[in-house]
């Protein structure tokens, strides 16, 4: 071991600037600097990588615990309110005091809407733009139920003004409540997509950071090798190994997360979105079908909208079938399509009867309990869609759970490996530095 450069003692009394220059010029000085640099690089890279993994993990947590449940809650708010409105119209059409079945369906819808709304209201900070929609929903839902109860009271007393209260309730539902619920659903679904994007992105920043750490270690190794006869410095080799392990760990975990998040989209949320929209279209079409009969001869506007919405529904079902990846979902959607055809057929018969003046037959086909009637086909279609949505949602939840599992402990591992790499590089350089004493 030969000594190289100026001894460190020579600069002790020199002014600071010269001391630093001297340090950099002497080999032990450079080695000390390199050690410091390596500690800084490994620790900073480790911290940044851990932070990045933590961000990914937080996005997954948001996805699982917040945005997806909220988007589902928003969908439930819409669905139960639309169903309540269609049920109220059916109850009116059936004449007299409504049947216990329709009454309890309406009550269940309102209870569900209120429960889903309280879930949706629990978390508002994420999307401030839904604040208005939420306050409209919370404020107008009681007004809606009040109008329906007033209508019911008047119907019981035989006052035709009950129908006017029901119309007012329905127009409140269509003009304010449903658009607010739709806005809520859109915002929450956008949050799901955003969380999926930030959780499932490629680990590019982690890779870059890892490469910076590896390059620094490589440079140090080269420098130390150049100044000694040994090819490898054990400490630095260990440090490099630890950084490599960390990089691999993070890359593999991130790749697993990216794949499963993409699965959650493909097998889950993308299908849920299409199916949820199909369900909303189903309810809208049913409402329009019923209101055409309520309007009794002057419901051309409702009938026109039924045509538009049911066309859209057909497309959504076809898309749902082509998107379906699990056999259970595909079967449910295929069955939904069959029931949709049956409904379309029943609707044609309703319109034929109503247009030729046979209102009683039209009414029977629309709200009667017989197989092949519109009410039965509508209920079956809705049930199929619920099955399909539940299946797709289970796939979504499973994928997100796998993704979260892949990141378990990654932050701690990354931090420990970074500290280990820092310690190993200091020890490696220290070994070399000792030879100058």
């Amino acid at each position: 071991m030969r000594r190289k450069g100026t001894p460190m003692t020579a600069v002790v009394t020199a002014p600071t600037s010269r001391r630093v220059t001297g340090l950099v010029k002497s080999t032990p000085g450079r080695l000390s600097l390199i050690a410091l640099l390596l500690v800084a690089v490994t620790v900073v890279v480790g911290a940044l990588t851990a932070w990045s993994v933590q961000t990914r993990s937080a996005a997954l947590e948001e996805l699982a615990n917040r945005s997806e449940p909220l988007s589902f809650a928003a969908q439930e708010v819409y669905r139960s309110m639309a169903d309540a409105d269609a049920t109220a119209a059916s109850a009116f059409l059936s004449g007299g005091v409504e049947s216990p079945a329709l009454r309890s369906r309406y009550e269940a819808d309102i209870a569900k809407a209120a429960a889903a709304l309280s879930t949706a209201t629990g978390e508002t900070s994420r999307s401030p733009e839904v604040g208005t929609a939420l306050s409209t929903l919370a404020g107008q839902l009681p007004v809606y139920t009040g109008l329906v109860e007033t209508a019911r009271t008047h119907n019981r007393q035989g006052n035709p003004v009950g129908a006017a209260y029901l119309r007012e309730a329905s127009s409140l539902m269509r003009a304010q409540l449903l658009p607010a619920a739709q806005g809520l659903y859109r915002a929450e679904t956008a949050n799901v997509v955003r969380d999926q994007d930030s959780a499932g992105g490629g680990p590019w920043s982690e890779l870059l950071l890892g490469l910076v750490a590896l390059a620094s270690l490589g440079f140090a190794q080269w420098y130390v090798t150049r100044r000694s006869n040994r090819v490898f410095n054990v400490g630095l080799v260990v440090a490099t190994g630890l950084v490599l392990v960390s990089l691999l760990w993070v890359s593999i975990a991130s790749a697993v997360v990216a794949t499963t998040v993409s699965d959650s989209r493909e097998n889950g949320s993308a299908q849920v979105d299409v199916l949820a929209r199909a369900r909303i279209a189903t309810l809208t079409a049913r409402g329009d079908e019923t209101l055409t009969l309520v309007a009794r001869g002057s419901g051309a506007a409702y009938e026109k909208r039924y045509g538009e919405v049911s066309g859209e529904l057909g497309e959504l079902l076809a898309r749902g079938r082509s998107l379906a990846t699990a056999p259970a979902v595909r079967d449910a959607v295929t069955s939904a399509e069959k029931n949709f055809q049956a409904w379309q057929e029943a609707h044609r018969r309703i319109r034929e009867a109503d247009d030729s003046g046979d209102y009683t037959t039209a009414l029977g086909a629309a709200i009667g309990p017989d197989q092949g009637g519109a009410a039965v086909a509508f209920d079956n279609l809705d049930r199929d869609l619920v099955t399909a949505i539940t299946q797709a949602r289970t796939a979504f939840t499973g994928s997100v759970a796998t993704a979260r599992g892949a990141l378990t402990g990654t932050v701690a591992v990354v931090a420990l490996l970074a500290l280990g790499a820092a310690a190993a590089s200091v020890m490696g350089v220290w070994q070399r530095l000792k030879e100058y004493r």
């Binding site: 008047h154 035709p160 209260y165 002057s298």
Partner: protein, 322 residues
């Protein structure tokens, strides 16, 4: 020493002073009451009302001889076309209690106008149930007749010169008059006390034009159906409803806290609206009306629905221009 004590006390009181609180208030967007779909305030009277020259609109076409037997309509006539179809298509209301309304219990459409329409069906088919109802709002009546969607409109339709230019009318089958309905104790006593108050009427009705022309200048609120007016009155969104006494009687019957006030301030002769081209059908319907006036059918229907409004009223006499 005393100064020090004072200073200390001052400091102490300053320390005990409450810190202004910034607890947020709860703000409400609006507690606005819901309104019936497409309810709107109307500016002035409908412009077209003034431009029509005066005429004798209530004079209709004289029946041509005795009525044909049911099921034996003259060949080539409008009645034969209706008979071939198998049903009469009548434009009626389902929201006006007593005149044309949906019975909430049975779901059937009933009322004075509806029974009148059934008499026409009975004359064509011998069966009052060979009839298809097409529910029309006030403003849909004339378009439905012009486009031939209905054979006849029996829906509290006032005969006037403006409408007579577009559609044909039967002879008068009921003589109504416009009055005011308000909440009991509201201080509204008739059309003169409506100044600045909100008054409800349906779009496209002659009542709306009459309200807009009241000298005391009420604010007119237009809705689709007469029951929407009752909803708005009950919810305190309008102060009064003004239309024909027949319709108001139906509204008052559904709410004991309302009452009809003031005199009839217009004459509203009701006629059945018929497409202008179908003169043979106008004469046929007038024949039917002649018969039910004389054989007591009219009186029976009137007693059933409007007996409480004007007990024992005689059917209005027909007037013809040949």
């Amino acid at each position: 020493m005393r100064r020090l004590v004072v200073l200390l006390l001052l400091l102490l009181s300053a320390a005990c002073a409450p810190v202004p609180s910034s607890a947020p208030d709860i703000t409400v967007g609006s507690a606005g009451a819901p309104t019936p779909g497409d309810a709107a305030e109307v500016g002035g009277p409908p412009s077209s009302a003034a431009a029509v020259p005066p005429c004798d609109a209530t004079a209709s076409l004289r029946p041509s001889g005795p009525l044909p037997q049911p099921g034996a309509m003259p060949p080539g006539s409008t009645m034969e076309r209706i008979a071939a179809r198998g049903r009469l298509i009548a434009g009626v209301d389902q929201n006006t209690y007593l005149m044309g309304f949906r019975n909430p219990e049975s779901g059937a459409i009933e009322g004075f106008d509806v029974d009148m329409a059934r008499e026409v069906a009975k004359a064509v088919f011998g069966d009052p149930n060979r009839i298809q109802f097409k529910v029309l709002t006030s403003d849909q009546r004339i378009p439905a007749l012009e486009q031939g969607e209905v054979d006849v409109v029996v829906r509290t339709m006032t005969i006037n010169c403006e409408r007579a230019q577009k559609v044909a009318f039967s002879s008068v089958y009921y003589q109504a008059g416009q009055r005011v309905l308000a909440a009991r104790g509201s201080g509204i006593t008739g059309p003169d006390s409506l100044g600045g108050r909100k008054v409800c009427a349906t779009k496209g009705s002659s009542s709306l034009a009459n309200v807009a022309n009241i000298a005391s200048k009420p604010v007119v609120v237009a809705v689709a159906n007469w029951t929407d007016c009752l909803v708005m009155l009950q919810q305190g969104q309008v102060d009064a409803v003004s239309t024909d006494d027949t319709i108001l009687a139906g509204l008052a019957a559904q709410d004991p806290y309302t009452e009809m006030v003031g005199p009839q301030f217009t004459q509203e002769p009701y006629g059945m609206g018929i497409p202008k081209a179908n003169e043979d059908f106008v004469r046929f319907v007038n024949g039917v009306l002649e018969r039910i006036r004389s054989d007591g059918t009219w009186a029976g229907i009137h007693q059933r629905w409007l007996g409480a409004l004007d007990r024992g009223a005689a059917p209005p006499a027909a007037k013809y221009r040949d």
